[in-house]
């Protein structure tokens, strides 16, 4: 899976978490700060973690999305896990 494909999947997850995220997601870059931009609730974070794990068939280890500052850092983590 290329870095671009991972980003596209992540964007699709962010939109499925809440359709209202769509305009924000379209303007997202790897530098976008996820928590500042989307302000997830505890249930929202749980959704993201589970959806990412299911989509990429990976497991977060003692790490949650709140630990990742930017979209790019989540992509780095997923890339490393997929290798």
């Amino acid at each position: 899976m290329t870095r671009q494909e991972i980003i596209q999947e992540l964007k699709s997850i962010l939109i499925s978490a809440d359709e209202k995220n769509r305009p924000l997601v379209e303007g997202c870059t790897e530098q976008t700060n996820l928590m500042d931009t989307f302000g997830f609730s505890s249930v929202g974070i749980l959704y993201l973690v589970i959806a990412i794990e299911e989509t990429f068939q990976i497991r977060f280890e003692n790490t949650t999305v709140t630990d990742f500052e930017t979209l790019g850092s989540v992509v780095d983590y997923i890339e490393a896990k997929l290798k």
């Binding site: 809440d18 359709e19 209202k20 609730s41 249930v43 589970i50």
Partner: protein, 501 residues
């Protein structure tokens, strides 16, 4: 006054199952009955290990020896995240005749100390992972025994009999005033809560439960753990909520006890991934601790799962009522369970009965009661068939300048009936002139927006139509569609705006 009868639930269950539902006076009696009926069945699955009822009792009996060494304490606190060790130590303490205060695992060290002092506990049983947060209590209270939950003994100590009126558990609650308190629950109350949870559910014995709620919450402790044990069921402990769907796929629970936010999350994920994320065998969801949207009941029914709303309080050992007519009366919290009496005074629900607490520990209880009736703080009504409806909270009532009282929950229920409304909050705001007005905020349900040409416009029109259908004094002067969810409390309830209280 309503005096519910167990017979009201007979028609929802087959006769054989109904007759098996019987009360016990104490946890000891119930546990002895379980050990005799289901010794070799699996009671608990945790961290890759299965424990039969007999094995759980063996571990509890060894822990009773640890506790009894040097004299059995009267009161203990148990402090740890959900685990087999927490279950074993809790059962060990209760069956030795101790009163167990169940402390939420997220408490900081100051609060642990405060609880030990306030509840007068003699021993603090802690999960070794939380060792750092019991040190302060150990320093400040030299007489406090510290016992790690993995301590055990070679010898076994027998259960000690207690009376139904003896104290069993101290459970945390926000209380009707919002301040954290410990509700003292007798064995009789705990057993009422345990057994009442069985009424109105078609298949209740020999089930598979997935535990995701904290055991420090009555909904987790009584409706989840104790009812699972009472019914000879198998309880799988989910250690981390993020693993709940992986656990569900493997364990395939038949029953889930959950708050609405989790039921909603599971539904959204199931739709996204095109499969039932809570496992292929799920038949029943027991849902409570916050208002349940009718949408959830209808959507789960389409997936072959019945979601039953219920109503309960920490002070009532959890369950007051449950709704077996979930499809035809989706906004009701159901029929009240037996062995309690209910009345509505000035709109507020008052309760007394075998399931009720014996007061908050170390608090002035005068304000909580009137003539022996516990005042729930919830606004309620009954329909002609005896089904209960919760219409709001007294403390959330908005008093308008014109003298009208508005119950936010009652108004929100009208908006929550729109499929695209996931959650809503009505509160008092001020307009540009500084005059108080009613304002409504809603969180849209993402899955319902796909079919709309112009979601913003369509939602606004539908919300305005509902608003216009309300009595003028209940209408919101300002309606906002939020971009984000509301802030949530640790139990995932909406954190209501302070100005609303």
């Amino acid at each position: 006054m309503i005096q519910p009868s167990r017979e009201a639930f007979r028609r929802f269950t087959d006769d054989e199952t109904f007759e098996r539902i019987r009360s016990f006076g104490t946890f000891q009696e119930m546990w002895a009955s379980c050990l005799s009926a289901y010794p070799e069945q699996t009671a608990i699955e945790d961290n890759g290990v299965r424990y039969t009822y007999a094995a759980l009792e063996d571990e509890a009996a060894a822990f009773r020896t640890v506790l009894a060494a040097g004299g059995a304490p009267k009161k203990v606190a148990v402090f740890g995240p959900n685990s087999f060790a927490l279950v074993k130590t809790l059962i060990g303490a209760v069956t030795l005749g101790c009163t167990a205060a169940v402390l939420p695992a997220q408490l900081p060290d100051m609060a642990v100390l405060g609880c030990c002092m306030k509840f007068g506990v003699e021993a603090l049983i802690y999960d070794p992972a939380l060792k750092d947060r019991v040190q302060l209590a150990a320093q400040k209270l030299p007489g406090l025994r510290l016992i790690a939950s993995d301590e055990t003994a070679a010898e076994k100590t027998a259960m000690r009999p207690v009376r139904p009126e003896d104290p069993c558990l101290i459970m945390f609650t926000g209380g009707t005033t919002g301040k954290s308190k410990g509700a003292l629950l007798s064995h009789r109350a705990v057993m009422e809560g345990t057994v009442n949870g069985c009424y109105g559910i078609p298949e209740i014995f020999g089930q598979r439960y997935l535990l995701i709620l904290p055991l420090s919450h009555v909904f987790g402790m009584i409706r989840n753990l104790f009812t699972s044990l009472y019914t000879g069921s198998d309880l799988f402990i989910c250690r981390n909520n993020k693993d709940m769907f992986r656990d569900a796929a493997m364990f395939r629970p038949t029953v889930l006890v959950a708050v609405p936010a989790i039921a909603e999350l599971a539904l959204t994920l199931s739709k996204k991934f095109g499969r039932m994320m809570l496992g292929a065998d799920l038949k029943t969801i027991i849902c409570g601790a916050a208002p349940v949207a009718p949408y959830l009941i209808a959507e789960y029914h389409k997936l072959g799962v019945e979601l039953y709303p219920g109503y309960g309080l920490t002070e009532s050992a959890n369950l007051v009522s449950g709704n077996p007519e979930n499809l035809t009366r989706p906004t009701s919290v159901g029929l009240p369970y037996p062995n309690q009496e209910l009345r509505i005074v000035d709109g507020e629900l008052w309760i007394r009965g075998a399931n009720m607490m014996d007061g908050y520990v170390g608090e002035d209880n005068a304000a909580a009661y009137s003539d022996g009736w516990f005042k729930t703080g919830d606004l309620a009504r009954f329909d002609d068939d005896g089904f209960l409806y919760i219409t709001g909270r007294i403390k959330e009532i908005i008093l308008l300048p014109n003298g009208e009282n508005v119950s936010p929950a009652e108004v929100e229920a009208h908006f929550n009936a729109l499929p695209f409304v996931q959650d809503s909050q009505l509160f008092e705001d001020v307009n540009a002139l500084g005059q108080p007005i009613l304002a409504l905020e809603i969180v849209p349900r993402a899955t319902e927006l796909g079919g709309m040409q112009d979601p913003q416009k369509e939602m606004t029109e539908a919300l305005q139509a509902v608003n216009r259908s309300l009595p003028t004094w209940q209408q919101a002067a300002k309606i906002t569609i939020r971009d984000k969810d509301f802030d949530r409390t640790p139990s995932m309830k909406i954190a209501r705006y302070q100005k609303c209280k």
